[in-house]
């Protein structure tokens, strides 16, 4: 869920192939890729182009298409055609759908195919900072993005989901209040789901004190209170999935003055390890719950079949060792980019092999079976 494959447009950062390799190495047999490519995934041709690129790979690629043309928030995208070509959801990721008026049309239109509208929740007029707004941003002298920028769009989207009876999925939730808002909305029976990225239940904005641009992402790393709220949300089911928000960036782009460096952090190859280390080993979630958050709930939200392990079914599963202790080595990532601040971090839990489409990825090698 929520992967940036960068192709078409930024093949120097990632391609469908390298992104899929990273997914396989990280333990994933399917990824939903986001539409902020160049061109955007707002036409059936681009959906087909990506599907074709991934056709022979072990990893299934499910494009999330733009909700509006060029993600500009002005005209709704050809959703029926996009869906028919293979899109599984709609999003203007990078930004929230610009206005409630357009969102209304997107939600109502997408109801015909029961596809989720995946929202990057950030109020435009409060956006533009380089990190979370907090005491830490004050002492670092960096412009901040307040939590309320996220909360405002989350509440707007919840109300619009209620009003239209459409399906909203909150992408990379990061703020404590936003988790509360989703919790209340779910209690009211509004069709809202949410995902959290591994860094938002692992890291806090204190990490930015080194000015390491690998800690720069949007939504930004928040405070300890927010991290605790993410874990609580995962525990009580408010947050349905863990999604990598895998956002590759080249070294040249990240090695830049802090305010100019792009937002984004890799996620595919470290998220199982981070989730087992931070959630399972600390007894917040069971391994079964973790599988739900990574593999089952994302497919339910995107209305994809959930693979079963039984006779007569196609083999589609991951073998992971929840006790394996390993050291992250960014240089060895399958991803074309290396922008992860976890280099040399010790993690517990790792995917050993993935099997899908009669292929197996094990020991860094892909093989036919």
């Amino acid at each position: 869920m929520h992967v940036h494959l960068r192709e078409p447009g930024r093949e120097d950062e990632e391609t469908v192939e390298t992104g899929c390799n990273a997914a396989a190495a990280g333990g994933f047999t399917g990824v939903a890729c986001m539409p902020n490519t160049n061109p955007d995934i707002d036409s059936a041709e681009v959906v087909r182009f990506i599907k074709e690129k991934a056709a022979k790979h072990l990893v299934d690629v499910y494009p999330v298409a733009a909700a509006t043309l060029a993600r500009k928030g002005e005209a709704i995208s050809p959703m029926l055609e996009l869906y028919e070509a293979g899109a599984v959801g709609f999003s203007d990721d990078g930004v929230a759908i610009k206005s409630a008026g357009i969102l209304r049309n997107v939600l109502e239109y997408s109801k015909m195919i029961d596809a989720p509208v995946i929202e990057h929740c950030e109020d435009e007029s409060l956006a533009g900072g380089a990190m979370n707004e907090s005491f830490t941003s004050t002492i670092l002298g960096l412009p901040g993005i307040p939590n309320v920028a996220e909360d405002l769009i989350v509440i707007r989207d919840i109300m619009m989901a209620e009003f239209t009876d459409g399906r909203v999925h909150i992408a990379h939730i990061s703020s404590k209040n936003a988790v509360d808002l989703v919790r209340q909305a779910k209690k009211k029976g509004i069709k809202v789901t949410a995902e959290v990225a591994p860094h938002h239940f692992t890291l806090t904005d204190d990490m930015l004190k080194t000015f390491d641009t690998n800690y720069k992402m949007n939504p930004p790393l928040r405070t300890r209170d927010d991290v605790d709220a993410m874990i609580e949300g995962l525990k009580d089911g408010t947050i349905d999935c863990i999604a990598s928000d895998h956002a590759p960036h080249s070294i040249e782009e990240k090695e830049m003055e802090f305010i100019y460096a792009p937002n984004g952090i890799l996620g595919l190859e470290t998220q199982i390890g981070l989730a087992i280390s931070e959630l399972v080993k600390k007894k917040h979630l069971t391994l079964e719950q973790l599988v739900e958050k990574f593999a089952v709930n994302p497919r339910r939200i995107l209305k994809l079949p959930v693979p079963k392990i039984q006779v007569g079914e196609h083999a589609n599963f991951t073998i992971f060792d929840p006790e394996l202790i390993w050291t992250v080595e960014a240089a060895k990532f399958k991803s074309k980019s290396k922008n992860a601040p976890y280099d040399k971090r010790l993690l517990t839990g790792k995917a050993v092999a993935v099997i899908n489409k009669k292929k197996m990825f094990v020991d860094d090698k892909m093989m036919e079976i």
């Binding site: 907090s134 090695e255 830049m256 003055e257 802090f258």
Partner: protein, 306 residues
């Protein structure tokens, strides 16, 4: 006794001994500046680059003058005359400059954290001449020097920073430096200009200039930077002046013993009335002179370390 660090990135965490050493050394250079021949050979043979990625007149001139008075070779690099406009990355620019064998880099940049980043990609001594709204340590030092020069101490003094504290690079350096030297620091301004959580630094917040005047020994009045969107945080320059402006009338009514500092350039009639800017309570031009001496001290102490 040398400084405990080979860079001056900010005043956060700089120990009292270092600050004292810089201020004492600056006093020696301040005397040099009064001589007919204002030059000493201390940094002869050293090469210093002034790497200015943001417009600055007085800070750059002050550094340049300080370098020349210490007999260093200086080169000025600013974005308008460099390869930056051709799309060269910051890192490549720095590597190129370093390949020309420079000993020290004085850097001014729009982004916070650039001086820290420079220490990772360069072997030169790095001096921060202002990074974003983070720190401007030599300004903090020259403010401390100027206060000490007039009042004779910093320990126990009450200093209030007035203005757009949230968008000032001067404020944090003042807060850190003054607190380390034993002063009590407060800030005053409209609430849109006070940064999140500033109280956690042990800083009192005022919203009334009258209270700030009455309860402090020194006001460090910041420039309202209309060129940096200050206009979005206040309704008008007129309202700012009426409620937060430092005027001779206010000074005479609330605290005739106050000392007024201003980092310049002054917006006359906005944060300071013209009369107050020229009046007997301020040390604004002394700050400029002291700035050269303080920068000489910093360059000398870092440049002669081994």
């Amino acid at each position: 006794m040398p400084l405990s660090t080979r860079h001056l990135l900010g005043l956060n965490g700089v120990p009292r001994e270092d600050l004292q050493l810089i201020l004492d050394t600056a006093r020696t250079f301040r005397e040099v500046l009064e001589r007919p021949i204002k030059k000493v050979p201390t940094l002869q043979g050293k090469t210093i680059v002034n790497l200015f990625y943001e417009d600055s007149t007085r800070t750059r001139i002050s550094f340049e003058l300080a370098q020349k008075r210490l007999s260093a070779d200086t080169i000025n690099f600013s974005t308008s005359t460099s390869s930056v406009k051709k799309g060269e990355t910051f890192k490549d620019t720095v590597r190129n400059i370093e390949a020309m064998k420079v000993d020290m880099i004085v850097v001014r940049h729009k982004s916070a954290g650039v001086p820290q980043y420079l220490t990772k990609i360069s072997r030169a001594n790095i001096i921060n001449a202002g990074d974003g709204v983070h720190e401007h340590p030599t300004q903090g030092l020259l403010d401390m020097y100027s206060i000490n020069e007039r009042i004779g101490k910093l320990d126990g003094l009450k200093v209030c920073i007035v203005g757009d504290v949230a968008h000032s690079r001067v404020a944090l350096s003042n807060i850190y430096g003054l607190k380390t030297m034993g002063a009590k620091v407060s800030v005053c301004g409209p609430s849109t200009m006070i940064p999140v959580g500033i109280e956690s630094l042990g800083v009192k917040v005022y919203h009334k200039i009258e209270d700030a005047l009455r309860e402090n020994d020194v006001l460090n009045v910041l420039r309202i930077q209309l060129e940096r969107d200050a206009g979005k945080r206040i309704p008008s320059v007129r309202e700012y002046h009426n409620y937060f402006g430092v005027t001779t009338e206010r000074i005479e009514k609330y605290n005739k013993d106050i000392l007024i500092l201003h980092p310049g350039p002054i917006n006359r009639g906005v944060e300071l009335s013209s009369e107050a800017a020229d009046g007997p309570y301020q040390v604004i031009l002394e700050q400029v002179t002291n700035g050269v001496a303080v920068r000489m001290a910093v360059l000398y102490l870092l440049g002669t370390m081994h």
